[in-house]
Amino acid sequence: MPLAYDIVDRTLANGLRVVVNEDHSVPVVAVNLWVGVGSRHERPGKTGFAHLFEHLMFQGSRHVASGEHFAALMAHGGRLNATTWFDRTNYFDTVPKGAFELALWMEADRHGWLLDAVTQENLDNQRDVVKEEKRQRYDNAPYGNALNNLYALVFPPGHPYHHPTIGSMADLDAATLEDVHAFFRHWYTPANTVLSIAGDVGVPEAYLAVEKYFGPIPAGPAPDRQPTPPLLPSKAPAHLSRVEDVPSGRLYIGFRLPEDNTADYLAAASAMDCLGGLTTSRLERALVRTEELADYVSAGSLGLADGVSLGFLVLQAAEGVELARLEERACALIDAFADTGPTAVDMEAVLAQTERSWLSGLASLEERADAIGHYTCLYDDPHAINTYLDRLGAVSADQVQQAASEWLRAQHRSVVAIGARGDEVSVEDEVEAQAEARASGSRRAAGAEGAA
């Protein structure tokens, strides 16, 4: 279905791209800034820096005291935060319409003149906070580092997506004030930033205010945007296995996918849905409902901008099911799908579910502003929110099958296998049983080991 959100797109003299979607349904405005820097731009020894830097953006700027950004906007009914990811960093504020200019002023102050206020004390404090974030989200959480491990398996050493956004403790420790200054000057320029605004503000009024507050920010050079050569599917399977103090074993099975915002990516992402993202998907139906080898299956497609994306399946083994057996069955189903492709019902389901979730997302002003920023910042397409469903609808079953055949065969997989506590014993048993089997030459003994 064609969507018709009004989108106005202009660029200030200093290079700041400003996209406005006027919507008077509620007396609220969403302000959203995408800066074209994420963890993929970090150099070796500096991992985690883009995210640490994002924290410092809340610790004061030329006219704003440390912590005042949160405190002042929230006291006027603002909801705000920021996130860092592989390709970008985003900053967002949803405010009552009467606080729209205050939000712009505060954003302009830190995006223009952060460095006046950065101190060693703030850097040290936020480094500690980020370390606690890392411990809470990853190091102290069951399976917490599984996806981080998967990135490192799917993407080769030195590749921009090889390391996770949270970075390493050692690199966080090594970050200096000079790094903060250099990073800001290099990446936080108007030409590397998209400001999107959605909500209860007229277009002329919005541009006047943006010009007033963001216009004075010096232009600065646009950062070099040399793309990384695209990656093809992995040539051979890669595995990382370990045992954790968790009750159930899990497989995280990753694949390279085509770069986001292409027809090939949409086809591959649709294939991921058919494999594990729907109640009717191949793995869910076979492994969870019919054969009961898994407690659950999920699938995700992580669209990325620099020559490759990531698709992944998560399978939790049912009690008593060995991960090797689960992986073997999953691989057979994955290859079978690559051979046959989706049915007409699969295609209908993917489109219907994507339509609902896409429209649900755009229903909220903050998510709509974020989607506009996403497609404008990474793909130079401010109108993408209106055309996305049509582009998905144009993907044929043949294209999905071709994408699966090219990218989603078992031979292209990378697997992080997290064994449950107690599995150490069975691994040893397996080694012994294999030794016995070799000694006796008995096929029966070799078969028995799998059940041990």
Partner: protein, 450 residues
């Protein structure tokens, strides 16, 4: 224009706002249909709220409500499990069901043009589920695996330990909503079907529909889809009377090798129907632990760097409620953090300043239009109030009352509940923490295995 940029702009006052007003129809069978027309919201949200208090579950089958909720869409009189799955996906329906202290909410999100088909599937799931043996058995097994998972996750483990320590064993709330391994293992398909027959009744239930309604005859569509549903209403058992906890205590759940400690602290709080009104309590929760500049994080995060964040708030229950503060901190500073946290919470008894009060009131009142801007948030709010026997007029009244709050009223409301008696749970490495927590002198320390 100076090189320093333009002056800081002022803020124009926000226009008055109230929660959207629904049209309400009571059907012949007692079901109330509450419709919110929210123009521009092309995805509709439907929430069917059914009174089914946890306390009504058979004691030896606790968790039966959760298994029932999870198997509603696993096969019906007209569609088997695969047909049901296929129809839901092809119509783009997101269907979910969840159980809380008061009852069951069945949720549907769907685009407007698929609403008729979604209502048909809602009726299949709610009125005509068959609970196939194999699917019930599978969900029981999955729930048992989930119980194991909850024990390894520090936040969930802390919440479970808190409930067990805070409520007497006779209280249903002392045990997980989804049941324990001992009770879940006993659940059968017959027990699920019997529980369904008992609680799924139109009388006292509320179906909320929010979305861009246009010319759709929602009530007519609902009446048609749910025709034949006539089984009266469920008598709701009285709420438990809870004695107030008299002494502070610390439960230390040993999780060897933890690099952080999860802290979960609580005391009794008010119910939503508290004399004097509910309005002060969201504001108090926000001022103490609702932002990085709130009192807890101003010290524990922004000054000390001990945590990624500590949150707190008042949580109403059927009878009374809770005040809870929780977060995770670096292992080495666990006892110090717990001590600081309790000190900060108790210092709230000394009261809140004018500016602090105004900031908290403005945050909650002025974020409301944005927080309730989408069909799903409107429907969620209405469904939760419905389970409490309230409507969203209550939401509007609380917001109006909030604007009148004074520092004096906030102080009184806080002192009514926060008296310095705490049930504290710490999930972390006991070999490192035991001694320092005992030295803290914040109640007797009991160590539990994970």
């Amino acid at each position: 224009m100076t090189p320093k940029g333009p002056r800081r702009p002022g803020v124009r006052p926000a226009p008055p706002w109230s929660f959207p007003v629904p049209t309400v129809t009571e059907l012949d069978n007692g079901l109330r249909v509450v419709v919110y027309d929210t123009p521009g919201q092309h995805v509709w949200s439907l929430r069917l709220a059914l009174q089914a208090p946890l306390a009504g579950e058979p004691v030896d089958l606790e968790g039966v409500g959760t298994i029932m909720a999870r198997t509603l869409d696993e096969g019906s009189e007209n569609y088997d499990v695969e047909q049901m799955a296929e129809l839901l996906e092809r119509r783009g329906v997101a269907l979910g069901a969840g159980v809380g202290e008061r009852g069951l909410v069945v949720e549907i999100d769907v685009t407007r043009r698929q609403v008729t088909g979604a209502l048909e599937l809602l009726a299949e799931a709610v009125l005509r589920p068959t609970f196939p043996e194999a699917q019930v058995r599978r969900h029981i097994r999955t729930r048992l695996a989930e119980i194991d998972q909850e024990r390894t996750h520090p936040g969930q483990r802390a919440a479970i330990a808190f409930a067990a320590a805070f409520y007497p064993a006779t209280d249903r709330l002392s045990r997980p909503t989804g049941g324990t391994a001992a009770t879940v293992e006993r659940i059968t398909r017959e027990a699920v079907a019997a529980y369904h027959a008992e609680v799924v009744r139109p009388g006292g239930s509320v179906l909320t529909v929010a979305g861009d309604i246009g010319a759709v005859d929602v009530v007519g569509e609902v009446e048609h889809a749910l025709r034949g549903w006539t089984r009266g209403s469920l008598p709701v058992p009285p709420a438990a009377q809870r004695p107030r906890v008299k002494r502070s205590s610390i439960v230390l759940v040993d999780r060897p090798g933890s690099v952080q400690s999860e802290i979960y602290v609580g005391c009794p709080g008010p119910g939503r129907n508290v004399p004097g009104g509910w309005a002060p309590f969201p504001v108090l929760g926000y001022l103490m632990g609702g932002s990085p500049q709130a009192r807890l994080d101003a010290v524990l995060r922004e000054e000390k760097g001990y945590t990624y964040g500590v949150r707190c708030g008042f949580r109403p229950r059927r009878d009374g409620g809770l005040f809870i503060a929780s977060g995770s901190v670096r292992t080495e500073v666990t006892a110090e953090s717990l001590g600081l946290l309790l000190d900060i919470l108790e210092a709230g008894r000394d009261g809140f300043g004018e500016a602090e009060t105004a900031g908290g009131v403005d945050f909650l009142c002025h974020t409301a239009p944005g927080r309730y801007a989408t069909a799903d948030t409107v429907a969620d709010e209405a469904a939760q109030r419905a389970l409490e026997g309230l409507t969203t007029e209550h939401t509007t009244r609380v917001l109006q009352d909030m604007r009148e709050l004074t520092p004096k009223r906030l102080r009184k409301a806080y002192r009514d509940w926060i008296d310095g008696t705490w049930t504290s749970v710490v999930v972390g490495d006991a070999s490192v923490l035991k001694k320092s927590l005992r030295k803290l002198d914040r109640g007797e320390v009991t160590v539990l295995p994970c």
